[in-house]
């Protein structure tokens, strides 16, 4: 975890990932990400099995580990259930790119170490099946093969830059999540006798 040094602060084992995109619309709420009928558990594997099933029953069968979820405005609106980012992460999604995130989801994703990138231009331009490469150090989102054109021809403007995280949030991410950041801080406090 200490080896993670990235400008955009994405808590990911790899600094770069490549994955196939699955694109959905605006206002994807946490009730469709993980319906409440499954909230009688917080086991990540159980939650992952039902990830996004009320939006796209085939979602969990379609995705490969390392795929990228792309959505429009206000992703993760509604309930505060942390089960939503947990379900997405446990399903094997490497990163969520959205035009914007609802604030509780944004906090939860950072706290549990689900990589997210806020980038309206990429969110609007990408289509399901596109292959993208993400650089978590620079926040760069690069289209490397389009679904529509059989992965051969690329438009010229196929690189986008995600919003950088503030330094404070980067520290949480670099610690590997809020629990680790808090644990370290409390230990430091004890050592300094404050």
């Amino acid at each position: 975890m200490n080896s993670m040094k990235n400008n955009t602060g994405i808590p990911h084992a790899a600094k770069t990932v490549q994955g196939r995109t699955h694109v959905y619309g605006d206002n994807i709420d946490t009730d469709v990400i993980i319906p409440a009928r499954y909230l009688n558990t917080s086991d990540p594997r159980e939650l992952a099995a039902h990830c996004l099933e009320d939006l796209d029953p085939e979602f969990i069968n379609k995705i490969q580990p390392g795929d990228i979820l792309v959505a429009g405005e206000n992703f993760g609106c509604g309930s505060s259930r942390e089960h939503a980012p947990i379900a997405i992460k446990a399903a094997g999604i490497a990163c969520v790119i959205a035009a914007s995130f609802a604030r509780i989801f944004y906090r939860n994703a950072i706290n549990i170490g689900l990589p997210i990138l806020e980038c309206p231009d990429a969110a609007r331009a990408l289509h399901s099946g596109d292959m993208v490469a993400l650089d978590f150090e620079t926040g760069e989102i690069r289209l490397i093969a389009t679904a529509a054109e059989g992965g051969t021809t690329l438009p010229s403007n196929c690189i986008w830059k995600a919003q950088p995280f503030p330094l404070f949030i980067r520290d949480i991410i670099e610690a590997g999540g809020l629990v680790e950041a808090t644990r370290r801080r409390l230990a430091q406090k004890r050592r300094s006798g404050v």
Partner: protein
Amino acid sequence: MHDRPMTMSQKILAQKAGLEQVEAGQLIEAELDLMLGNDITAAPAIVEFGRIGCGRVHDPGRIALVSDHFTPNKDIKAAEQAGIMRRFARDQRISHYWETGRGGIEHALLPEQGLITAGDCIIGADSHTCTYGALGAFATGVGSTDLACAMATGRTWFKVPSALKIELVGRLSGWVSGKDIVLHLIGKIGVDGARYRSLEFIGEGVGQLAMDERFTIANMGIEAGAKNAIFPVDERTREYLTLVGARTPQIFDADPDAAYDAVITLNLSQIPLTVAMPHLPSNTREAAQVCGMPIDQVVIGSCTNGHISDLRVAAAIMKEKKVAESVRCIVIPGTQRIYRQALREGLLDIFIEAGAVVSPPTCGPCLGGHMGVLGRGERAVSTTNRNFVGRMGHVESEVILAGPAVAAASAIAGAVATPEHIVSESPEREELFRP
């Protein structure tokens, strides 16, 4: 003294962060007066708390744990989750723990127990924590990991929000109430219209709003994406805080020249009975426009509209009437105290006589948990707060959000209806909305 004008929310955050002033966008760490978890969100928070390794919570007196979502336990797994929270409360000596039968729905319960006062800074692992802004507190929803770390340290981080100023003018009339105001507002600004921002209510229209209505309005701030929603403290707030025995209030008024991202004026005399059609709270219509749409179920309750005045409104319409044969009507008082008050006032008799079922306090059907889950193709009119796809049950079911007056009228009519279809005149607001 601060020289930068601040909003109500910013003033509370500045004080809790020990700063003279703060500005929108600033990252701060604030001391918390209260933190909250429920039977769904506490269990993962308790696991994360264990990983921090500090052993004891920072201050058991500032933690509230409420069994309300899947309780009375709906199945074995729910029982086990509730058990994790129960054991944690016992081990950590958390006295603000409410067992089934002794509490109610968290956001109706904590204010009535006197746990919230004006000027407090509160987080809750539940998105509707913003409800407490009705009492002039800064209150916002977070996830389980945030709750875990706050239990360990007594603090949390915030990005200081900018704000929308919602100016209320004019007089409410007829059956129109707080729910219609907030649905109307969400319809106007959209489900992300206040994203990351505070909703600050102000203006000469505020004074007429009962505390129950302010709770309803603040409660649904999250449905516009708001970080918090807040009302100024007035005579009604003070009376309420005294009545419930809350701690001494600390009153923060917005500076007259505080910066707002936008000012929206709502003339309450022009707001009609309002509903939100499937599948977004912003998909609002005048209730009169959708009258006659057939329904299968009506739910009257939840953290949004499970207050005593909501039950009085519903009872005034359902008195000596029968729930339509094709409709199941479920009435859920928000807390045990509200349940007993409704019993004393004869409201429960009215509901049972009409053919409704009265449920113990629970979030139950609002989130499709239990006590009224919808099947394929079914449609409900509900006084709850969300109508997302599958929210109350089957992915092909529908929820129409409404206030208690439209919900009760619809239960009797068997289709979306306004009270004018059922009763000839509306009682005085003072009678329905008295404390």
